[in-house]
């Protein structure tokens, strides 16, 4: 026990006091006392996990509660105040269509928010060391080399792969590191605060479905509310009386929310439809990677099939790849890399504490 205390006082021992005291006995006790941990508990990125790793969101959930709240509130007001009138005067399909759209919107939103967007796990220590060695072998200078890039040729187009210093690997094409989530995400589109998650390879189709169905929903609600007010005012009572009859704050709220949403969401859907048809990501479009803005001439998008239908199918109907981070898998119980370090340092500490004791 005295040896342990001496080790804890020494400055170098601050990092390893837990592992340095008897490792075999300590490890066994820890294993029997605590249940096996899952990989999501030690995930290095800035994500939060719920339901034992089944659901994941970015650390800052952004305005996801606001998005959900607005959609649910507006739809509830619609169902409560407008549907009874419209069922009576127009058709009874209206609540059915509204309900189906609402359900589709909520499900797509939850799928986008809670899914892994295509996070790449960080390189293991061995892999990072191997990559470093490859870079050092090719660089001859002794000081730190300039930002590392790797050039590959994809469909006769030169693409530069950048080295990610956080994840310690060369990023695959179309992968980008999200600073908010601190992860490299495959086919990174953008980090959406409304949805509270990154939009990447694995959840782009849900995001697209969400914004398209939301634009239909807001347009539908807007149309129904306008019809409702028109029909009421046509009953010979005038528009003001009509607004006064149906609870004014609710109808006005629905109108305002839908009016502003329709333009912005419709615009966003149109933009993303263009991106899907040309097989681009928001990231590439903003940076102008393939439009020749980066100074290199004759750049074309090497990932595009040059056919709108083929591009749409490739983006929206391609097989859904599995999550690479295996968040519900169990951590290995022994021979984990950190255990090797204190064992290597052990002889140094044993020597020092022997000296101090003596």
């Amino acid at each position: 026990m005295k040896n342990c205390e001496y080790r804890q006082i020494e400055p170098q021992g601050l990092g390893t006091p837990n592992a340095a005291p008897p490792p075999p006995a300590g490890a066994n006790d820890a294993d029997t006392r605590a249940k096996r941990r899952r990989k999501w508990e030690v995930f290095p990125g800035k994500n939060r996990f719920y339901c034992d790793g089944r659901i994941m969101v970015a650390r800052q959930s952004g305005v996801l509660p606001l998005t959900l709240g607005l959609i649910v509130l507006t739809s509830c007001l619609f169902f409560v105040f407008d549907c009874p009138f419209l069922v009576e005067h127009v058709t009874s399909c209206i609540p059915a269509i509204g309900g189906a759209l609402f359900a589709f919107v909520i499900i797509s939103l939850l799928q986008t928010s809670f899914r892994d967007p295509g996070i790449l796990p960080r390189a293991t220590a061995d892999e990072a060391a191997y990559t470093e060695k490859q870079i050092d072998d090719s660089a001859s200078s002794s000081y730190r080399p300039p930002p590392r890039t790797l050039e590959v040729i994809i469909n006769q187009q030169v693409v530069k792969l950048k080295y990610c210093f956080t994840c310690k690997m060369f990023r695959p094409p179309r992968t980008s590191h999200c600073s908010l989530c601190d992860n490299c995400v495959e086919r990174f589109d953008h980090h959406c605060p409304w949805v509270g998650n990154c939009v990447g390879k694995r959840n782009y189709r849900f995001f697209y479905a969400f914004i398209v169905s939301l634009s239909f929903l807001t347009a539908f609600i807007f149309g129904c509310v306008t019809t409702h007010l028109t029909l009421r005012s046509q009953g010979g009572k005038g528009l003001i009386t009509a607004v006064q009859e149906s609870p004014p704050s609710c109808t006005a709220l629905e109108l305002i929310v839908c009016f502003f949403s329709v333009w912005s969401i419709l615009g966003l859907s149109g933009f993303h439809t263009y991106l899907v048809a040309s097989n681009l990501t928001t990231n590439e479009d903003i940076k102008g990677s393939w439009s020749g803005n980066s100074g290199v001439q004759n750049t074309v998008n090497p990932y595009s099939y040059n056919n709108i239908f083929a591009n749409c199918c490739a983006v929206l109907c391609a097989p859904l790849p599995p999550s690479l981070i295996d968040r519900r898998g169990f951590l290995p119980t022994q021979e984990s890399p950190p255990a090797a370090q204190p064992q290597v340092e052990l002889p140094v500490f044993v020597g020092k504490s022997d000296l101090t004791v003596v």
Binding site: Q111, P121, D126, I153, I154, A318, L320, V344, L346, P347
Partner: protein
């Protein structure tokens, strides 16, 4: 030193890790999952070139099959959209089915070809589909230690 390891357990317990070789991705065809078939120099004395290339080519074919955009993937995509993607919670996708085939293939290759030569392939899915990690083991059947690093540190401490 071609020592016979009779099964994978023996390999893991009685051999110590010498080095790891990483087969990188081949991005010349875009973002599809494909690994380079270039034969690494570290495996020169351990395994025949043709066996290695066969393994990598078969893996590449499996991944191409998983990511193929064709009739079945359209059907899956349209069906999923029609059911508001809820079907993904109940059904196993084609990609997942192919991944299971891949891990069976890798296990089989390890048992039949790689373990007898003191090598072990790690499934790329465990490394984020970025590399095929091949662990190269040295013949240390007589040392009796399960972890190479602990034996070297204890010897240097004394």
């Amino acid at each position: 030193m071609a020592t016979e390891f009779h099964n994978l357990q023996e390999l893991r317990h009685s051999a110590s890790l010498a080095t790891k070789v990483f087969i990188q991705r081949d991005y010349t065809e875009g973002t599809v999952c494909k690994f380079q078939t270039k034969f690494p120099a570290e495996l020169d004395s351990r395994i025949e070139r043709s066996l290695f290339e066969d393994t990598v080519k078969t893996l590449n074919n499996y991944y191409a099959e998983a990511e193929k955009i064709g009739g079945q993937s359209y059907l899956e995509g349209c069906l999923a959209c029609a059911t508001a993607y809820v079907i993904f919670l109940c059904m196993e996708t084609r990609y997942e089915k192919v991944l299971k085939k891949i891990s069976k293939y890798i296990q089989e290759q390890n048992e039949k070809i790689y373990a007898p030569r003191g090598l072990l392939i790690t499934d790329p899915i465990e490394r984020g589909m970025r590399v095929i990690e091949i662990s190269v083991f040295e013949d240390r059947g007589s040392s009796g230690s399960s972890s190479g690093s602990s034996s070297t540190s204890s010897s240097s401490g004394r």
